[in-house]
Protein backbone atom coordinates (compact mmCIF):
# COMPACT_ATOMS: atom_id res chain seq x y z
CA UNK A 1 0.00 0.00 0.00
CA UNK A 2 1.31 3.42 -0.92
CA UNK A 3 -0.39 5.60 1.67
CA UNK A 4 -2.51 4.55 4.63
CA UNK A 5 -4.54 6.95 6.75
CA UNK A 6 -5.70 5.51 10.09
CA UNK A 7 -8.35 7.31 12.10
CA UNK A 8 -7.04 10.69 11.00
CA UNK A 9 -8.68 13.75 12.52
CA UNK A 10 -7.89 17.42 12.38
CA UNK A 11 -9.66 20.09 14.35
CA UNK A 12 -9.02 23.75 15.02
CA UNK A 13 -10.63 26.57 16.89
CA UNK A 14 -12.29 29.63 15.48
CA UNK A 15 -12.61 31.76 18.59
CA UNK A 16 -14.10 29.38 21.12
CA UNK A 17 -15.79 27.23 18.53
CA UNK A 18 -14.11 23.93 17.72
CA UNK A 19 -14.16 23.08 14.04
CA UNK A 20 -13.59 19.44 13.14
CA UNK A 21 -12.31 19.66 9.60
CA UNK A 22 -11.48 15.97 9.26
CA UNK A 23 -13.04 13.31 11.52
CA UNK A 24 -11.46 9.92 11.97
CA UNK A 25 -10.86 9.27 8.31
CA UNK A 26 -9.27 5.97 7.35
CA UNK A 27 -8.15 5.48 3.79
CA UNK A 28 -5.78 3.31 1.84
CA UNK A 29 -4.25 4.60 -1.37
CA UNK A 30 -2.58 2.11 -3.66
CA UNK A 31 0.39 2.87 -5.87
CA UNK A 32 -0.66 4.20 -9.35
CA UNK A 33 -4.21 4.85 -8.15
CA UNK A 34 -6.16 7.80 -9.51
CA UNK A 35 -8.57 8.94 -6.85
CA UNK A 36 -10.98 11.85 -6.98
CA UNK A 37 -12.61 13.45 -3.95
CA UNK A 38 -15.77 15.46 -4.26
CA UNK A 39 -17.69 17.33 -1.63
CA UNK A 40 -19.14 20.69 -0.72
CA UNK A 41 -17.02 23.62 0.22
CA UNK A 42 -15.84 23.24 3.81
CA UNK A 43 -16.29 19.46 3.81
CA UNK A 44 -12.61 18.91 4.67
CA UNK A 45 -11.23 17.96 1.23
CA UNK A 46 -8.34 20.45 1.20
CA UNK A 47 -7.46 19.68 4.82
CA UNK A 48 -7.38 15.95 4.03
CA UNK A 49 -5.16 16.60 1.02
CA UNK A 50 -2.85 18.71 3.19
CA UNK A 51 -2.65 15.99 5.81
CA UNK A 52 -1.67 13.44 3.14
CA UNK A 53 0.86 15.94 1.75
CA UNK A 54 2.62 16.43 5.07
CA UNK A 55 1.54 20.03 5.24
CA UNK A 56 -1.00 19.91 8.07
CA UNK A 57 -0.33 17.76 11.12
CA UNK A 58 -3.44 15.75 12.12
CA UNK A 59 -4.81 16.22 15.60
CA UNK A 60 -4.95 12.45 15.92
CA UNK A 61 -4.40 9.36 13.83
CA UNK A 62 -1.53 8.29 11.64
CA UNK A 63 -0.49 8.80 8.03
CA UNK A 64 1.73 6.02 6.77
CA UNK A 65 3.81 6.44 3.65
CA UNK A 66 5.52 3.21 2.69
CA UNK A 67 4.81 2.01 6.25
CA UNK A 68 6.42 5.05 7.90
CA UNK A 69 4.36 7.55 9.85
CA UNK A 70 5.25 10.79 8.11
CA UNK A 71 4.37 12.87 11.15
CA UNK A 72 7.06 11.06 13.10
CA UNK A 73 9.61 12.42 10.64
CA UNK A 74 11.67 15.35 11.86
CA UNK A 75 10.99 18.72 10.22
CA UNK A 76 13.65 18.35 7.55
CA UNK A 77 12.63 14.84 6.59
CA UNK A 78 9.00 15.92 6.37
CA UNK A 79 10.10 18.76 4.03
CA UNK A 80 12.02 16.22 1.95
CA UNK A 81 8.86 14.09 1.75
CA UNK A 82 6.89 17.10 0.53
CA UNK A 83 9.58 18.08 -1.92
CA UNK A 84 10.57 14.74 -3.41
CA UNK A 85 7.59 12.42 -2.97
CA UNK A 86 4.67 14.79 -3.31
CA UNK A 87 3.60 17.19 -6.06
CA UNK A 88 1.08 19.73 -4.84
CA UNK A 89 -1.30 21.62 -7.11
CA UNK A 90 -2.98 24.36 -5.12
CA UNK A 91 -6.51 25.57 -5.60
CA UNK A 92 -5.43 29.22 -5.94
CA UNK A 93 -2.79 31.07 -7.93
CA UNK A 94 0.40 30.07 -6.21
CA UNK A 95 3.12 31.33 -8.50
CA UNK A 96 5.81 33.62 -7.15
CA UNK A 97 5.20 36.94 -8.90
CA UNK A 98 8.85 37.88 -9.43
CA UNK A 99 9.80 34.60 -11.10
CA UNK A 100 9.25 33.64 -14.71
CA UNK A 101 7.14 30.62 -15.61
CA UNK A 102 10.29 28.52 -15.99
CA UNK A 103 11.72 29.70 -12.67
CA UNK A 104 8.44 28.98 -10.92
CA UNK A 105 8.53 25.45 -12.28
CA UNK A 106 12.14 25.11 -11.12
CA UNK A 107 11.42 26.33 -7.59
CA UNK A 108 10.99 22.87 -5.98
CA UNK A 109 14.36 21.80 -7.44
CA UNK A 110 16.05 24.36 -5.16
CA UNK A 111 14.68 22.51 -2.14
CA UNK A 112 15.69 19.00 -3.22
CA UNK A 113 18.08 17.08 -0.99
CA UNK A 114 18.40 13.84 -2.95
CA UNK A 115 18.63 12.83 -6.59
CA UNK A 116 19.56 15.05 -9.51
CA UNK A 117 19.79 18.65 -8.35
CA UNK A 118 21.44 19.96 -11.47
CA UNK A 119 19.60 23.10 -12.51
CA UNK A 120 20.73 22.84 -16.13
CA UNK A 121 19.09 19.41 -16.45
CA UNK A 122 16.04 20.61 -14.57
CA UNK A 123 15.72 23.64 -16.87
CA UNK A 124 15.33 21.37 -19.87
CA UNK A 125 12.76 19.36 -17.98
CA UNK A 126 10.91 22.52 -16.86
CA UNK A 127 10.65 23.71 -20.47
CA UNK A 128 9.41 20.31 -21.55
CA UNK A 129 6.78 20.27 -18.80
CA UNK A 130 5.63 23.75 -19.76
CA UNK A 131 5.22 22.52 -23.33
CA UNK A 132 3.31 19.48 -22.16
CA UNK A 133 0.91 21.62 -20.13
CA UNK A 134 0.37 23.93 -23.10
CA UNK A 135 2.34 27.02 -22.02
CA UNK A 136 5.59 26.25 -23.85
CA UNK A 137 5.51 29.69 -25.44
CA UNK A 138 5.39 31.40 -22.02
CA UNK A 139 8.65 30.08 -20.59
CA UNK A 140 10.02 33.52 -19.78
CA UNK A 141 6.73 35.23 -18.99
CA UNK A 142 6.01 36.51 -15.50
CA UNK A 143 2.74 35.55 -13.76
CA UNK A 144 1.36 39.06 -14.32
CA UNK A 145 1.71 38.42 -18.06
CA UNK A 146 -0.25 35.17 -17.89
CA UNK A 147 -4.00 34.52 -17.73
CA UNK A 148 -5.43 32.63 -14.74
CA UNK A 149 -5.59 29.45 -16.80
CA UNK A 150 -2.01 29.80 -17.96
CA UNK A 151 -0.86 30.37 -14.38
CA UNK A 152 -2.69 27.23 -13.36
CA UNK A 153 -0.90 25.25 -16.07
CA UNK A 154 2.48 26.56 -14.91
CA UNK A 155 1.59 25.43 -11.38
CA UNK A 156 0.66 22.00 -12.75
CA UNK A 157 4.02 21.77 -14.54
CA UNK A 158 5.74 22.73 -11.27
CA UNK A 159 4.08 19.87 -9.40
CA UNK A 160 5.80 17.37 -11.72
CA UNK A 161 9.33 18.82 -11.76
CA UNK A 162 10.76 16.55 -9.03
CA UNK A 163 9.14 13.40 -10.44
CA UNK A 164 6.85 12.94 -7.42
CA UNK A 165 5.26 9.62 -6.63
CA UNK A 166 1.98 11.25 -5.63
CA UNK A 167 0.20 14.27 -7.04
CA UNK A 168 -2.21 15.99 -4.70
CA UNK A 169 -4.34 18.24 -6.87
CA UNK A 170 -6.82 20.65 -5.33
CA UNK A 171 -9.26 21.58 -8.09
CA UNK A 172 -6.48 21.61 -10.66
CA UNK A 173 -8.63 22.56 -13.62
CA UNK A 174 -10.71 25.21 -11.90
CA UNK A 175 -9.58 28.12 -14.07
CA UNK A 176 -9.35 26.20 -17.31
CA UNK A 177 -11.66 26.13 -20.30
CA UNK A 178 -13.17 22.81 -21.27
CA UNK A 179 -10.65 22.04 -23.98
CA UNK A 180 -7.62 22.77 -21.79
CA UNK A 181 -9.23 20.89 -18.95
CA UNK A 182 -9.39 17.79 -21.11
CA UNK A 183 -5.77 18.27 -22.23
CA UNK A 184 -4.64 18.49 -18.63
CA UNK A 185 -6.65 15.45 -17.64
CA UNK A 186 -5.10 13.58 -20.57
CA UNK A 187 -1.67 14.66 -19.31
CA UNK A 188 -2.55 13.44 -15.81
CA UNK A 189 -3.83 10.17 -17.18
CA UNK A 190 -0.62 9.69 -19.17
CA UNK A 191 1.55 10.44 -16.13
CA UNK A 192 -0.56 8.01 -14.12
CA UNK A 193 -0.21 5.24 -16.67
CA UNK A 194 3.29 5.86 -18.03
CA UNK A 195 5.17 7.21 -15.02
CA UNK A 196 3.08 5.38 -12.43
CA UNK A 197 2.24 8.55 -10.55
CA UNK A 198 -0.49 8.24 -7.93
CA UNK A 199 -3.15 10.96 -8.09
CA UNK A 200 -5.48 12.25 -5.42
CA UNK A 201 -7.59 15.00 -6.94
CA UNK A 202 -10.20 17.20 -5.40
CA UNK A 203 -12.75 18.44 -7.92
CA UNK A 204 -16.29 19.69 -8.28
CA UNK A 205 -16.48 18.61 -11.88
CA UNK A 206 -18.60 15.46 -12.13
CA UNK A 207 -17.33 14.85 -15.68
CA UNK A 208 -13.78 14.62 -14.38
CA UNK A 209 -14.81 12.44 -11.48
CA UNK A 210 -16.03 9.84 -13.88
CA UNK A 211 -12.63 9.61 -15.55
CA UNK A 212 -10.87 8.68 -12.27
CA UNK A 213 -10.29 5.21 -10.94
CA UNK A 214 -11.89 5.67 -7.52
CA UNK A 215 -14.27 8.37 -6.41
CA UNK A 216 -14.71 9.46 -2.83
CA UNK A 217 -17.18 11.91 -1.37
CA UNK A 218 -16.47 13.99 1.69
CA UNK A 219 -18.97 15.72 3.87
CA UNK A 220 -18.59 17.14 7.37
CA UNK A 221 -15.02 15.89 7.58
CA UNK A 222 -15.95 12.30 6.83
CA UNK A 223 -15.53 10.19 3.76
CA UNK A 224 -19.15 9.34 3.58
CA UNK A 225 -19.65 7.66 0.30
CA UNK A 226 -17.46 5.79 -2.07
CA UNK A 227 -19.09 6.67 -5.33
CA UNK A 228 -17.35 4.08 -7.43
CA UNK A 229 -14.52 1.69 -6.84
Amino acid sequence: MHIVLKEVARSYFVGKEKIEAVRNVSLEIKRREFISIVGHSGSGKTTLLSIIGGVARPTSGTVLFEDNDIYFFDKDRLSEYRCERIGFIFQFASLLPNLTAKENVLLPVLFKTHGNRDIADSEKKAIELLHRTGVGDKVNAYPSQLSGGQQRRVAIARAFINDPEIILADEPTGDLDEETEMEIMLFFRRMNEEAGTTFVMVTHNSELVRTTGRQLKMSNGLISTVLHE
Binding site: T47, S79, R82, F90, L96, L99
Partner: protein
Amino acid sequence: MNRFNLFTLAIKNIQRKKFRTGILVFSITLIVSVLVFGVSFILNVNSGVRRASDRLGADLIVVPVGARGYAEEVLLESKVKSFYMNKNVIERIKRIEGIDTVTFHTYITTIQGVCCDIPEATVVAFNQGSDFIVQPWLEKAIGRKLEKNEAIVGHESFLNIGMGLMDAMLFGTRFRIMGALEKTGTGLDNAIFMSDENIEEILQKGKAPLKPDVISIIFAKVQKGYDPYNVGRSIEGEVIEADVMARSDIGKDIISVLGDINMIFSITVFMASILSVLLAWAIFSATVNERLREVGVMLALGAKESHVSKLFFIEVFFIGLMGSVCGVVFGTTLSVLLMKSFTILKNLPGGLNAVDRAAIGVAGFVTGTGICILGAFSPIQRIKKLEPLAVIKGELA
Protein backbone atom coordinates in the same frame (compact mmCIF):
# COMPACT_ATOMS: atom_id res chain seq x y z
CA MET B 1 24.11 32.48 -18.18
CA ASN B 2 22.57 33.06 -14.76
CA ARG B 3 21.53 29.82 -13.15
CA PHE B 4 18.44 29.90 -11.00
CA ASN B 5 19.22 29.40 -7.32
CA LEU B 6 18.37 30.82 -3.90
CA PHE B 7 20.85 33.61 -4.47
CA THR B 8 19.23 34.82 -7.71
CA LEU B 9 15.81 34.43 -6.08
CA ALA B 10 16.95 36.65 -3.20
CA ILE B 11 18.27 39.29 -5.60
CA LYS B 12 14.96 39.27 -7.47
CA ASN B 13 13.13 39.72 -4.17
CA ILE B 14 15.31 42.68 -3.23
CA GLN B 15 14.53 44.35 -6.55
CA ARG B 16 10.79 44.11 -5.96
CA LYS B 17 10.43 46.88 -3.39
CA LYS B 18 13.03 49.31 -4.59
CA PHE B 19 11.90 52.29 -2.53
CA ARG B 20 11.68 50.33 0.70
CA THR B 21 15.02 48.66 0.08
CA GLY B 22 16.44 52.09 -0.77
CA ILE B 23 15.26 53.55 2.56
CA LEU B 24 16.92 50.75 4.49
CA VAL B 25 20.12 50.95 2.44
CA PHE B 26 20.17 54.72 2.99
CA SER B 27 19.77 54.39 6.75
CA ILE B 28 22.55 51.80 6.90
CA THR B 29 24.68 54.07 4.74
CA LEU B 30 24.16 56.96 7.16
CA ILE B 31 24.95 55.00 10.29
CA VAL B 32 28.01 53.34 8.75
CA SER B 33 29.33 56.62 7.36
CA VAL B 34 28.94 58.29 10.78
CA LEU B 35 30.79 55.35 12.32
CA VAL B 36 33.57 55.38 9.72
CA PHE B 37 33.96 59.14 9.91
CA GLY B 38 33.97 59.21 13.70
CA VAL B 39 36.37 56.32 14.13
CA SER B 40 38.64 57.77 11.43
CA PHE B 41 38.68 61.11 13.27
CA ILE B 42 39.51 59.58 16.65
CA LEU B 43 42.15 57.22 15.28
CA ASN B 44 43.63 60.00 13.22
CA VAL B 45 44.13 62.22 16.25
CA ASN B 46 45.36 59.34 18.35
CA SER B 47 47.86 58.07 15.83
CA GLY B 48 48.92 61.61 14.93
CA VAL B 49 49.78 62.36 18.53
CA ARG B 50 51.58 59.04 18.97
CA ARG B 51 53.51 59.41 15.74
CA ALA B 52 54.60 62.93 16.50
CA SER B 53 55.77 62.11 20.01
CA ASP B 54 57.64 59.03 18.77
CA ARG B 55 59.38 60.96 16.01
CA LEU B 56 60.72 63.58 18.37
CA GLY B 57 63.09 60.89 19.56
CA ALA B 58 63.35 62.13 23.14
CA ASP B 59 62.46 60.07 26.19
CA LEU B 60 61.76 63.13 28.30
CA ILE B 61 60.73 66.68 27.53
CA VAL B 62 61.38 69.40 30.09
CA VAL B 63 59.47 72.68 29.91
CA PRO B 64 58.90 75.61 32.27
CA VAL B 65 56.30 74.96 34.95
CA GLY B 66 52.85 75.53 33.47
CA ALA B 67 54.06 75.42 29.88
CA ARG B 68 53.26 71.79 29.27
CA GLY B 69 50.16 72.58 27.20
CA TYR B 70 52.02 75.21 25.18
CA ALA B 71 54.80 72.74 24.42
CA GLU B 72 52.29 70.16 23.20
CA GLU B 73 50.67 72.79 21.02
CA VAL B 74 54.01 73.63 19.45
CA LEU B 75 55.25 70.06 19.08
CA LEU B 76 52.01 68.43 18.00
CA GLU B 77 49.78 71.08 16.56
CA SER B 78 52.33 73.54 15.12
CA LYS B 79 50.85 76.39 17.11
CA VAL B 80 52.96 79.50 17.55
CA LYS B 81 53.82 79.80 21.23
CA SER B 82 56.78 81.03 23.21
CA PHE B 83 57.72 80.08 26.77
CA TYR B 84 61.04 80.34 28.52
CA MET B 85 63.13 79.10 31.41
CA ASN B 86 66.64 79.82 32.51
CA LYS B 87 69.43 78.20 30.55
CA ASN B 88 71.13 76.90 33.71
CA VAL B 89 68.43 74.22 33.92
CA ILE B 90 70.35 72.31 31.22
CA GLU B 91 73.40 71.73 33.41
CA ARG B 92 71.26 70.80 36.42
CA ILE B 93 69.41 68.18 34.36
CA LYS B 94 72.61 66.75 32.90
CA ARG B 95 73.76 65.98 36.46
CA ILE B 96 70.67 63.88 37.25
CA GLU B 97 71.28 60.12 37.41
CA GLY B 98 70.03 58.25 34.37
CA ILE B 99 70.25 61.15 31.95
CA ASP B 100 72.15 60.23 28.79
CA THR B 101 71.92 63.06 26.28
CA VAL B 102 70.37 66.50 26.52
CA THR B 103 69.62 69.15 23.94
CA PHE B 104 67.47 72.27 23.94
CA HIS B 105 65.45 74.60 21.73
CA THR B 106 64.59 78.24 22.05
CA TYR B 107 61.32 79.20 20.41
CA ILE B 108 61.11 82.75 19.14
CA THR B 109 57.87 84.04 17.71
CA THR B 110 57.94 86.21 14.62
CA ILE B 111 55.36 88.96 14.51
CA GLN B 112 54.09 89.85 11.09
CA GLY B 113 54.63 93.43 10.06
CA VAL B 114 56.96 94.22 12.94
CA CYS B 115 60.14 92.32 12.52
CA CYS B 116 59.88 90.64 9.20
CA ASP B 117 57.84 90.04 6.13
CA ILE B 118 56.64 86.49 6.82
CA PRO B 119 53.46 85.43 8.60
CA GLU B 120 53.54 84.66 12.31
CA ALA B 121 55.67 81.57 12.79
CA THR B 122 57.81 79.80 15.34
CA VAL B 123 61.54 80.18 14.83
CA VAL B 124 63.45 77.37 16.50
CA ALA B 125 66.97 78.15 17.59
CA PHE B 126 68.71 74.87 18.28
CA ASN B 127 72.10 73.84 19.54
CA GLN B 128 73.92 72.13 16.70
CA GLY B 129 76.50 70.55 18.99
CA SER B 130 74.03 68.51 21.01
CA ASP B 131 70.91 68.37 18.88
CA PHE B 132 69.29 65.07 17.99
CA ILE B 133 65.86 66.41 17.12
CA VAL B 134 66.49 68.51 13.99
CA GLN B 135 70.01 67.43 13.09
CA PRO B 136 69.12 64.10 11.39
CA TRP B 137 66.70 65.92 9.08
CA LEU B 138 69.20 68.70 8.46
CA GLU B 139 71.85 66.19 7.39
CA LYS B 140 69.40 64.82 4.84
CA ALA B 141 68.47 68.27 3.54
CA ILE B 142 71.82 70.02 3.14
CA GLY B 143 74.38 67.49 4.32
CA ARG B 144 76.08 69.94 6.70
CA LYS B 145 75.44 72.14 9.69
CA LEU B 146 73.87 75.57 9.40
CA GLU B 147 76.24 78.52 9.38
CA LYS B 148 75.53 81.79 11.11
CA ASN B 149 72.74 83.76 9.37
CA GLU B 150 71.54 80.64 7.66
CA ALA B 151 68.14 79.09 8.26
CA ILE B 152 66.15 76.17 6.96
CA VAL B 153 62.38 75.85 6.89
CA GLY B 154 60.16 72.99 7.92
CA HIS B 155 58.38 70.99 5.26
CA GLU B 156 54.96 72.56 5.87
CA SER B 157 56.37 76.12 6.16
CA PHE B 158 57.82 75.66 2.74
CA LEU B 159 54.45 74.58 1.38
CA ASN B 160 52.31 77.00 3.37
CA ILE B 161 54.26 80.24 3.18
CA GLY B 162 56.30 79.45 0.14
CA MET B 163 59.63 80.00 1.87
CA GLY B 164 62.33 78.39 -0.14
CA LEU B 165 65.73 79.24 -1.48
CA MET B 166 65.82 82.96 -0.83
CA ASP B 167 66.82 85.45 1.77
CA ALA B 168 64.45 86.38 4.55
CA MET B 169 64.47 89.04 7.19
CA LEU B 170 64.10 87.51 10.64
CA PHE B 171 64.19 89.77 13.68
CA GLY B 172 65.97 92.49 11.72
CA THR B 173 68.69 90.19 10.42
CA ARG B 174 68.95 88.86 6.88
CA PHE B 175 69.00 85.07 6.84
CA ARG B 176 69.79 82.89 3.88
CA ILE B 177 67.18 80.13 3.65
CA MET B 178 69.12 77.01 2.75
CA GLY B 179 66.12 74.88 1.80
CA ALA B 180 63.36 72.88 3.38
CA LEU B 181 63.52 69.89 5.69
CA GLU B 182 61.79 66.69 4.78
CA LYS B 183 58.54 66.03 6.57
CA THR B 184 59.35 65.09 10.17
CA GLY B 185 55.78 64.27 11.08
CA THR B 186 55.82 66.64 14.08
CA GLY B 187 54.50 70.09 14.74
CA LEU B 188 57.98 71.38 13.97
CA ASP B 189 57.24 70.94 10.27
CA ASN B 190 55.73 74.42 10.42
CA ALA B 191 58.74 76.08 12.04
CA ILE B 192 61.86 77.87 10.75
CA PHE B 193 65.17 76.58 12.11
CA MET B 194 68.39 78.38 12.86
CA SER B 195 71.47 77.74 14.95
CA ASP B 196 71.42 79.19 18.48
CA GLU B 197 74.63 81.06 17.54
CA ASN B 198 72.31 83.70 16.06
CA ILE B 199 70.53 84.46 19.32
CA GLU B 200 73.14 86.94 20.51
CA GLU B 201 72.76 89.09 17.40
CA ILE B 202 68.94 88.87 17.60
CA LEU B 203 69.11 90.02 21.21
CA GLN B 204 71.41 92.90 20.28
CA LYS B 205 69.00 94.12 17.60
CA GLY B 206 66.14 93.88 20.11
CA LYS B 207 63.60 92.91 17.52
CA ALA B 208 62.49 89.69 19.18
CA PRO B 209 60.53 89.22 22.41
CA LEU B 210 63.46 87.38 23.95
CA LYS B 211 65.67 87.83 27.02
CA PRO B 212 69.28 86.65 27.37
CA ASP B 213 70.12 83.18 28.69
CA VAL B 214 66.71 81.64 28.24
CA ILE B 215 65.63 78.49 26.49
CA SER B 216 62.18 77.06 25.82
CA ILE B 217 62.45 73.32 25.98
CA ILE B 218 64.91 70.58 26.83
CA PHE B 219 64.86 67.17 25.18
CA ALA B 220 66.55 64.35 27.06
CA LYS B 221 67.36 60.72 26.37
CA VAL B 222 67.73 58.42 29.36
CA GLN B 223 70.40 55.80 29.76
CA LYS B 224 69.60 52.18 29.05
CA GLY B 225 68.06 50.42 32.05
CA TYR B 226 66.57 53.57 33.51
CA ASP B 227 62.84 54.11 33.66
CA PRO B 228 62.03 57.47 32.00
CA TYR B 229 59.23 58.05 34.56
CA ASN B 230 61.62 57.67 37.49
CA VAL B 231 64.21 59.92 35.87
CA GLY B 232 61.45 62.44 35.12
CA ARG B 233 60.37 62.40 38.77
CA SER B 234 63.99 63.02 39.81
CA ILE B 235 64.15 66.02 37.47
CA GLU B 236 60.95 67.48 38.89
CA GLY B 237 62.34 66.97 42.39
CA GLU B 238 65.64 68.69 41.57
CA VAL B 239 64.41 71.41 39.21
CA ILE B 240 61.25 72.84 40.70
CA GLU B 241 60.81 75.41 37.94
CA ALA B 242 60.42 72.62 35.34
CA ASP B 243 57.66 70.28 34.25
CA VAL B 244 58.61 66.95 32.75
CA MET B 245 56.73 64.89 30.20
CA ALA B 246 57.63 61.34 29.30
CA ARG B 247 57.29 60.43 25.62
CA SER B 248 54.10 58.46 26.23
CA ASP B 249 52.58 61.41 28.11
CA ILE B 250 52.89 63.80 25.20
CA GLY B 251 49.45 64.63 23.93
CA LYS B 252 47.80 63.17 27.03
CA ASP B 253 45.49 66.19 27.32
CA ILE B 254 44.49 65.96 23.67
CA ILE B 255 43.85 62.24 24.04
CA SER B 256 41.83 62.73 27.20
CA VAL B 257 39.63 65.32 25.44
CA LEU B 258 39.40 62.78 22.66
CA GLY B 259 38.13 60.23 25.17
CA ASP B 260 35.15 62.49 25.91
CA ILE B 261 34.49 63.03 22.21
CA ASN B 262 34.79 59.28 21.76
CA MET B 263 32.16 58.66 24.41
CA ILE B 264 29.72 61.19 22.93
CA PHE B 265 30.32 59.70 19.51
CA SER B 266 29.89 56.11 20.78
CA ILE B 267 26.59 56.95 22.48
CA THR B 268 25.37 58.68 19.31
CA VAL B 269 26.33 55.72 17.11
CA PHE B 270 24.80 53.27 19.58
CA MET B 271 21.48 55.12 19.67
CA ALA B 272 21.43 55.56 15.90
CA SER B 273 22.20 51.84 15.57
CA ILE B 274 19.20 50.95 17.75
CA LEU B 275 17.07 53.19 15.55
CA SER B 276 18.38 51.45 12.46
CA VAL B 277 17.76 48.01 13.97
CA LEU B 278 14.16 49.07 14.66
CA LEU B 279 13.82 50.40 11.13
CA ALA B 280 15.18 47.12 9.72
CA TRP B 281 12.77 45.22 11.98
CA ALA B 282 9.79 47.29 10.82
CA ILE B 283 10.73 46.96 7.17
CA PHE B 284 11.35 43.22 7.36
CA SER B 285 8.19 42.67 9.39
CA ALA B 286 6.22 44.38 6.62
CA THR B 287 8.11 42.39 3.97
CA VAL B 288 7.49 39.12 5.76
CA ASN B 289 3.77 39.88 6.20
CA GLU B 290 3.49 40.61 2.50
CA ARG B 291 5.18 37.38 1.59
CA LEU B 292 3.34 34.96 3.90
CA ARG B 293 1.60 33.32 0.97
CA GLU B 294 4.81 32.93 -1.02
CA VAL B 295 6.63 31.44 1.93
CA GLY B 296 3.67 29.16 2.63
CA VAL B 297 3.80 27.96 -0.98
CA MET B 298 7.55 27.38 -0.72
CA LEU B 299 7.15 25.41 2.52
CA ALA B 300 4.34 23.34 0.97
CA LEU B 301 6.56 22.67 -2.05
CA GLY B 302 9.20 21.24 0.25
CA ALA B 303 11.34 24.17 1.36
CA LYS B 304 12.96 23.51 4.72
CA GLU B 305 13.02 26.18 7.43
CA SER B 306 16.69 26.55 6.62
CA HIS B 307 15.85 27.39 2.98
CA VAL B 308 13.48 30.14 4.09
CA SER B 309 16.00 31.51 6.58
CA LYS B 310 18.77 31.34 4.01
CA LEU B 311 16.69 33.14 1.39
CA PHE B 312 15.77 35.99 3.75
CA PHE B 313 19.25 36.23 5.23
CA ILE B 314 20.77 36.52 1.75
CA GLU B 315 18.37 39.42 1.11
CA VAL B 316 19.21 40.98 4.47
CA PHE B 317 22.91 40.47 3.92
CA PHE B 318 22.78 42.12 0.51
CA ILE B 319 20.87 45.12 1.79
CA GLY B 320 23.36 45.40 4.66
CA LEU B 321 26.24 44.97 2.24
CA MET B 322 24.97 47.71 -0.09
CA GLY B 323 24.40 50.09 2.82
CA SER B 324 27.74 49.24 4.40
CA VAL B 325 29.74 49.63 1.19
CA CYS B 326 28.06 52.99 0.47
CA GLY B 327 28.59 54.01 4.11
CA VAL B 328 32.26 53.03 4.13
CA VAL B 329 32.89 54.88 0.84
CA PHE B 330 30.92 57.95 1.95
CA GLY B 331 32.40 58.01 5.47
CA THR B 332 35.95 57.55 4.19
CA THR B 333 35.53 60.24 1.53
CA LEU B 334 34.10 62.59 4.12
CA SER B 335 36.92 61.88 6.53
CA VAL B 336 39.56 62.47 3.85
CA LEU B 337 37.93 65.68 2.62
CA LEU B 338 37.01 67.16 5.99
CA MET B 339 39.88 65.99 8.19
CA LYS B 340 41.95 69.11 7.66
CA SER B 341 39.05 71.39 8.51
CA PHE B 342 39.33 70.30 12.14
CA THR B 343 41.75 72.51 14.04
CA ILE B 344 43.00 69.60 16.11
CA LEU B 345 43.92 67.64 12.99
CA LYS B 346 45.12 70.50 10.82
CA ASN B 347 48.69 70.27 12.01
CA LEU B 348 48.90 66.74 13.32
CA PRO B 349 51.19 64.59 11.24
CA GLY B 350 50.41 61.50 9.32
CA GLY B 351 46.89 60.29 8.85
CA LEU B 352 45.52 56.81 8.56
CA ASN B 353 47.30 54.21 6.50
CA ALA B 354 45.64 51.66 4.23
CA VAL B 355 45.54 49.01 6.97
CA ASP B 356 43.80 51.42 9.37
CA ARG B 357 41.32 52.38 6.68
CA ALA B 358 40.68 48.73 5.83
CA ALA B 359 40.11 47.88 9.50
CA ILE B 360 37.66 50.78 9.86
CA GLY B 361 35.95 49.65 6.65
CA VAL B 362 35.58 46.12 8.00
CA ALA B 363 34.17 47.50 11.28
CA GLY B 364 31.69 49.59 9.29
CA PHE B 365 30.73 46.61 7.17
CA VAL B 366 30.22 44.36 10.21
CA THR B 367 28.13 47.04 11.93
CA GLY B 368 26.00 47.73 8.84
CA THR B 369 25.24 44.12 8.05
CA GLY B 370 24.92 43.32 11.77
CA ILE B 371 22.24 45.99 12.17
CA CYS B 372 20.32 44.56 9.23
CA ILE B 373 20.59 40.97 10.43
CA LEU B 374 19.63 41.90 14.00
CA GLY B 375 16.57 43.85 12.77
CA ALA B 376 15.44 41.07 10.45
CA PHE B 377 16.11 38.18 12.83
CA SER B 378 12.77 38.11 14.61
CA PRO B 379 10.55 38.46 11.48
CA ILE B 380 12.56 35.68 9.77
CA GLN B 381 12.22 33.39 12.78
CA ARG B 382 8.46 34.02 12.71
CA ILE B 383 7.92 33.32 9.03
CA LYS B 384 10.01 30.17 8.79
CA LYS B 385 7.72 28.49 11.34
CA LEU B 386 4.59 29.28 9.34
CA GLU B 387 2.20 26.35 8.87
CA PRO B 388 1.36 26.35 5.18
CA LEU B 389 -2.15 24.96 5.58
CA ALA B 390 -3.64 28.45 5.80
CA VAL B 391 -1.87 29.25 2.54
CA ILE B 392 -3.09 26.10 0.85
CA LYS B 393 -6.64 26.83 1.94
CA GLY B 394 -6.29 30.28 0.46
CA GLU B 395 -6.85 31.96 3.83
CA LEU B 396 -3.82 34.21 3.48
CA ALA B 397 -3.82 37.13 1.12
